[in-house]
């Protein structure tokens, strides 16, 4: 344990290597299995026994989307847990993904004829609208973290009710919306990568630059103010970043549960509480979770594709219970 705390950098490096390894193997997993040697052959420009087309058009875009979305959700969760100072905070809990989900369900069920890009645009706006709601209800008169969490839960409940209403109103068409609501990397192509990459690749470093603020906020409002930190402004800025990260991820892969909640917790176990390490570690863990979940979904029962969201919930929920127990004990 002591060693762990002393060398978070080394752990971070290890996590990175693990992610690279899993990603590499993941390229080979699917209806057609490709061994590590075949993958290497592809990477140096070969055709991997005729599987190059499958790798290039189906596997790689999925994996890249999975990496980016996993990072986005992991980061968003880490930031929110820091801002709200509550280990239960996550994009799901404060209503961001629910807002995106309601907007997406409305597009899928009410306007099935809209162009394909309408869906991510709507989902992202839905997340944005929840953010505006949070601002209006929680920020105008100086925010308390607990109030922020409660208002987020309330907004999320409203959106959830909307989703329920839509699925009851359109029982058969709901099938199409369910895939999205479970969250899945299935069928993602390079267009989706281009849609998602700018958001994550730009916002992630900005978040990391602000990780010192999260450390300061964690000391409590009074201490933070005393250290010269404009608490409310910092909180709002960080919250906005978290919304952009989660909103972008959810817009592309759907309302994948648990990654935003679990990834920061796992990361905290590994690198400790300092956000300089926790932020990148959460991003790596989120990516690792999602890529693993998608590989399982693709490889376990081909040709059936199991949505990644099912695996993240199956892995995530028990781990979370274990975690709660551990926290209670200590």
């Amino acid at each position: 344990m002591n060693q762990m705390i002393r060398t978070p950098k080394r752990w971070l490096g290890l996590l990175f290597v693990l992610l690279i390894g899993v990603t590499y193997l993941s390229i080979g997993v699917g209806a057609v299995w490709i061994g590590p040697a075949g993958i290497f052959e592809y990477l140096i420009g070969g055709d991997a026994a005729g599987q190059a087309y499958i790798i290039e058009n189906f596997r790689l875009p999925r994996i890249v989307v999975g990496l980016l979305a996993g990072m986005g959700l992991g980061l968003s969760g880490a930031v929110l847990q820091g801002v709200i100072r509550n280990p239960l905070a996550s994009p799901d809990v404060i209503g961001i993904t629910k807002g995106a989900g309601l907007a997406a369900a409305a597009v899928i069920l009410l306007y099935p004829g809209l162009p394909v890009l309408a869906l991510p645009a709507a989902a992202f706006s839905g997340a944005g609208i929840v953010m505006i709601g949070l601002y209006v209800f929680a920020f105008r008169r100086g925010v308390q973290p607990a109030a922020l969490a409660l208002i987020g839960i309330a907004l999320g409940a409203v959106c959830q009710a909307g989703i329920q209403f839509l699925t009851i109103k359109f029982p058969l068409e709901t099938n199409a919306a369910l895939v999205w609501l479970t969250g899945s990397v299935w069928g993602k192509d390079w267009t989706d990568v281009l849609l998602l990459a700018p958001f994550i690749l730009i916002v992630a470093p900005v978040t990391w630059l602000l990780s010192r603020k999260l450390d300061v906020l964690n000391l409590g409002d009074d201490v933070a103010e005393g250290l010269g930190e404009p608490v409310q402004k910092a909180r709002l800025a960080l919250l906005a970043l978290a919304v952009v990260l989660a909103g972008a991820a959810v817009a592309v892969v759907g309302t994948l549960g648990f990654v935003g909640l679990i990834a920061p917790h796992i990361a905290r176990q590994i690198v400790g509480n300092r956000h300089t390490y926790l932020i990148p570690a959460s991003a790596l863990t989120g990516a690792l979770l999602l890529v693993t979940a998608d590989s399982l979904g693709r490889g376990l029962f081909p040709p059936t594709e199991v949505p990644a969201g099912i695996f993240t919930a199956v892995i995530g929920a028990p781990y979370f219970l274990f975690l709660l127990r551990k926290i209670q004990k200590s």
Binding site: F58, P112, N175, A176, L178, P303, T304
Partner: protein, 318 residues
């Protein structure tokens, strides 16, 4: 303080630029896809997602909805790949007889693109609601047409059949099949007496609820076409989850139940006096029908079979 404002301003500026950039990319890809077909005589097939050029007669066809399996079987074509939800049993008997062995490409919700591409098809037929998001990827594998199936009524199913026969380069054969089909439908219609005034209600009965199909739904519109009036003539939704009170209110004279699972809401309702008072229940006109045939297939062959079923229950059972 200033630092944040500038961070965030910069951030949004970059995001805006990035968003514009990626949209252009998307359009480019769309316009270039689907144009790589060969030089043989080509025809342009119009469908829900635009136009697709198809040359020659496709030999390897992948069907991502059961409707299209039905359409292909009607034309005497055997698809190489079917999204059969990994359950061969879902292909109804009269159609399984007509087609040869095929490869399952997974679920209709999320068919495996990898398996589809490994089959090297030369035509893919997909559903508007389920598969429009992967149209680009499918088009990249092979010429793809997207048709309504999940959301179509009986007329829509006939339109889709015609589009499929055009896409297959089998218009003449298609006309023939359709003429036979219409004749068959006429014959079935003639078995329904002019003065038939009983109302019918087809419904999917599941553990999660009673899903009534109204006059505009596929099964409902099909039954209407031979003069069987649907009990639900109102409402803008084709499929409605209704409760027992509403069912009593609609009071159908005949009910066709497509059950999923042994335990359904009806198992519970049966103990209720209200349910026993519904005309269909009083008259013993509640009929269990095959869900695969009655609601999943939505094609020519299944349409005929559904009506044969219905006519048999209504006029020969007595």
């Amino acid at each position: 303080m200033k630092k944040y404002t500038s961070y965030i301003a910069l951030l949004f500026l970059v995001l805006l630029l990035a968003a514009c950039g990626s949209e252009d990319e998307g359009e480019l890809q769309e316009s270039s896809s689907g144009e790589d077909s060969g030089e043989q005589e080509t025809r342009v097939v119009e469908h829900e997602m635009g136009e697709t050029k198809i040359s020659g007669q496709p030999e390897k066809v992948v069907a991502l909805e059961f409707s299209f399996v039905d359409n292909l079987a009607s034309l005497g074509v055997s698809p190489v790949g079917i999204a059969d939800d990994n359950d061969e049993e879902r292909i109804i008997e009269p159609i399984r007889e007509k087609i040869e062995d095929y490869t399952s490409v997974g679920t209709r919700k999320q068919p495996s693109l990898e398996v589809i591409s490994s089959l090297e098809p030369d035509l893919i037929i997909a559903d508007m609601q389920r598969h429009k998001d992967i149209y680009d990827q499918l088009s990249d594998i092979a010429p793809t047409i997207i048709l309504p199936s999940l959301a179509a009524d009986y007329d829509g199913i006939i339109d889709s059949f015609q589009t499929v026969s055009t896409a297959m380069g089998m218009e003449d054969k298609g006309e023939e099949v359709l003429a036979d089909h219409k004749e068959k439908m006429e014959e079935l219609r003639s078995q329904v007496p002019e003065d038939e005034n009983r109302s019918v209600l087809p419904a999917v009965v599941a553990d999660s609820g009673y899903f009534a199909h109204n006059m505009e739904s596929y099964t409902g519109s099909l039954l209407e076409s031979i003069g069987l009036k649907n009990a639900i003539q109102s409402g803008d939704d084709r499929y409605n989850k209704i409760n027992l009170e509403q069912l009593v209110e609609f009071d159908p004279d005949v009910m066709f139940h497509m059950s999923s699972g042994d335990q359904t809401v009806v198992t519970e309702w049966e103990n209720n006096d209200l349910y026993q008072d519904i005309s269909a229940v009083e008259n013993g006109e509640v009929h269990e029908v095959d869900r695969n045939m009655w609601s999943r297939f939505r094609g020519l062959i299944s349409s005929e079979k559904i009506l044969e079923d219905a006519v048999q229950y209504l006029y020969e059972g007595r």
